[in-house]
């Protein structure tokens, strides 16, 4: 069995109860941090661990923490990004629902390292029931003296609150999240200044993903070096993968980074192979935003090496032949899947979720959705495929936040690897009634 750090107690029922959590070692790590370690030592452990942000960007967490400004007399904040909205990703929901205290323990320990007296868990509004689970767990922690004043007689004070969003993918972008937390529309901010200098209420702020903060607990417990010894190369530790699509066993799996992709898809321990004995056609390995790869390139790199579930191996070959680990939203598509239609589904998503601040993204996402619809509807031309390519290239890198890139990459990669399929749609003038029907639904829903 693979090493588990976040889901090691997942089989225990009632883990969301603080007593059960404590029976299995819960909050002992916090005690260790508060009583035996200085904040600097905790930060050092996180740096040594090599932990990288688990929300999608993969930025080294220790480095992000060390950027935090510490002016005298100014409050600092830790904000947990639980706005999990990347299509194909559901690991944070799983973790918070089943083991809310792990996140809370991580929040308090991380806040101790950062010197933050207040923290917020910003959770997407649709996860309302999960927010309630978190609130119940927070109340238990307050009653047990693990939150509030003078936690475990350490002299450290901390308050943690759950804040619900209200349905906006863009609020997963950290500055949009902060805007939303301040009670505004989720429009991303221009950086710099980065949140580490001027974040929530203009104060120095660290924003980390749920899984990142949870991973801080085993890092402090076992030490940064022990964590760095797991995984492969610069992809240290374990990662939660949300596996979905045409597989036999969809679900959340904790893998030690470095598992071969082929093993992940076909072994009984993980996805259990493709449904109904079909063949693998393509995989989106890290949530809808990352480039789609055809079966041959997801299983092996362009150089013929086995592709591994790690930041480096998935990115091998750049975007020409590689992709990204992203959020770990692993979407598997079988041989019957229409790549063009799937892309239209993604493009509609990005059009719907664009906040509208930057013209390339606001207009471009809409154009891409319309052109893809035209192609699917049998009215496309070969020039439309070039036009799609042109539009995506003019969105990428030209917007305030990465939503523009996220909308462009799926289009670019689908054309790069499946151009023939686009041309087939154009040539055969294939009319797909489903799409027409659905497009109408979309317009009505927006009315």
């Amino acid at each position: 069995m693979a090493k588990k750090l976040l889901l090691e107690n997942d089989h225990i029922s009632g883990l969301s109860n603080i007593n059960v959590y404590r029976q299995h070692g819960g909050y002992r790590t916090l005690e260790k941090a508060l009583k035996q370690m200085t904040p600097e030592q905790v930060l050092e452990d996180v740096k040594t661990s090599g932990l990288r942000g688990r929300g999608g960007a993969g930025f080294p967490t220790g480095m992000k923490w060390s950027f935090l400004a510490k002016p005298e007399g100014v409050a600092r904040y830790l904000v947990c990004n639980a706005d999990e909205s990347e299509p194909g990703t559901f690991k944070d929901r799983y973790l918070m629902e089943r083991n809310p205290h792990l996140l809370i323990e991580g929040m308090i320990a991380s806040s101790y390292a950062l010197g933050a007296k207040t923290s917020f868990i910003y959770i997407r509004g649709e996860y309302f029931y999960v927010a309630r689970i978190l609130e119940a767990a927070l109340n238990e922690a307050y009653e047990a003296g693990l939150l509030g004043k003078n936690i475990l007689n350490s002299g450290f004070d901390h308050d943690c609150y759950v804040q619900v969003g209200a349905g906006a993918y863009i609020c997963g972008e950290e500055t949009a999240l902060l805007e939303s937390l301040e009670g505004k529309r989720g429009n991303p901010r221009i950086k710099p200044p980065f949140p580490a200098i001027a974040g929530l209420y203009g104060c120095p702020t660290v924003v980390n993903n749920v899984e990142t903060i949870a991973a801080v607990v085993p890092i402090i417990r076992d030490g940064g070096e022990a964590y760095a010894a797991t995984g492969i190369g610069k992809s240290t530790g374990t990662k939660l993968i949300s596996a979905s699509g045409h597989i036999n066993k969809p679900g959340v799996y904790e893998i030690e980074l470095g598992v071969p992709v082929e093993e992940f898809i076909y072994s009984e321990e993980y996805c259990g192979g493709i449904r109904n004995g079909k063949k693998l056609k393509a995989v989106v390995a890290g949530g809808s935003s990352v480039p789609i790869l055809p079966a041959d390139l997801i299983l092996k790199t362009a150089a013929g090496e086995p592709r591994l579930m790690s930041y480096e191996s998935l990115a091998d070959g750049g975007f020409a032949t590689g992709t990204m680990l992203g959020s770990g939203g692993f979407i598997v598509m079988d041989e019957d899947t229409s790549i063009v239609k799937n892309l239209w589904n993604f493009s509609r998503f990005y059009h719907h979720e664009s906040c509208g601040q930057c013209s390339p993204c606001r207009e471009g996402t809409g154009w891409m959705e319309k052109i893809l619809h035209r192609i699917l509807d049998g009215h496309g031309t070969l020039q439309d495929v070039d036009l799609l390519w042109d539009i995506q290239s003019k969105i990428e890198g030209k917007t305030i936040c990465p939503l523009g890139d996220a909308a462009a990459w799926p289009v670019a990669s689908a054309i790069r690897h499946f151009k023939k399929e686009f041309e087939e749609y154009v040539r055969n003038g294939r009319s797909i009634k489903d799409v027409k029907h659905y497009y109408r639904l979309n317009n009505l829903a927006e009315a």
Partner: protein, 167 residues
């Protein structure tokens, strides 16, 4: 009102506008599942902000309904894995059964059908949400049972209440 004051107290002095989204949720739950301009004005007055600040936020987020809705708002995920595994069929089936299109409300005011973007339930696709509850691994039969039970109970379902129907 008590809850509202408790929420406002979470934030530092002068930063009470942070309570806007939580309060709009409360107001929507309290006032028949949607936000009239009166409801938004009331929230704005509680926070001592201009009404336009409440309107601009309410219109940005997809969970806030700015028109009256049915007692049960059926939100079917249409993105990515749910789409791969038959979300379109679920939507079409509900449309046929309720005799409405997505975005519309049944004439008896019982159901509103919405199609929504990824709800983070991709491993249990296809799925729909009603109130605060997730209904996952849907089949058309499960949808039928669910709609019938909802109609039988006839209750309004809101995000803030926990009242899952077993199907």
């Amino acid at each position: 009102m008590m809850t509202a004051q408790r929420i406002i107290k979470r934030y530092p002095e002068g930063k009470h506008k942070s309570a806007l989204i939580p309060l709009l949720h409360l107001a929507q739950a309290e006032f028949d599942g949607w936000l009239s301009s009166g409801a938004m004005d009331y929230v704005a007055s509680l926070l001592k902000i201009q009404p336009i600040e409440a309107y601009e936020v309410a219109s940005f987020y997809s969970m806030f309904n700015l028109k009256p809705v049915g007692k049960c708002v059926i939100e079917v995920c249409r993105t990515s894995s749910c789409w791969l595994l038959g979300a379109e069929d679920v939507v079409r089936h509900i449309e046929k059964k309720l005799k409405i299109h997505a975005g519309e409300t049944t004439s008896d005011g019982m159901f509103t059908l919405k199609t929504v973007e990824c709800l983070g339930s991709c491993g249990t696709a296809p799925m729909l949400q009603c109130g605060g509850d997730y209904y996952e691994n849907l089949t058309l039969e499960k949808v039928d049972t669910l709609l019938e039970k909802m109609k039988e109970e006839g209750r309004r379902r809101v995000y803030t209440k926990d009242d899952m129907i077993q199907i």
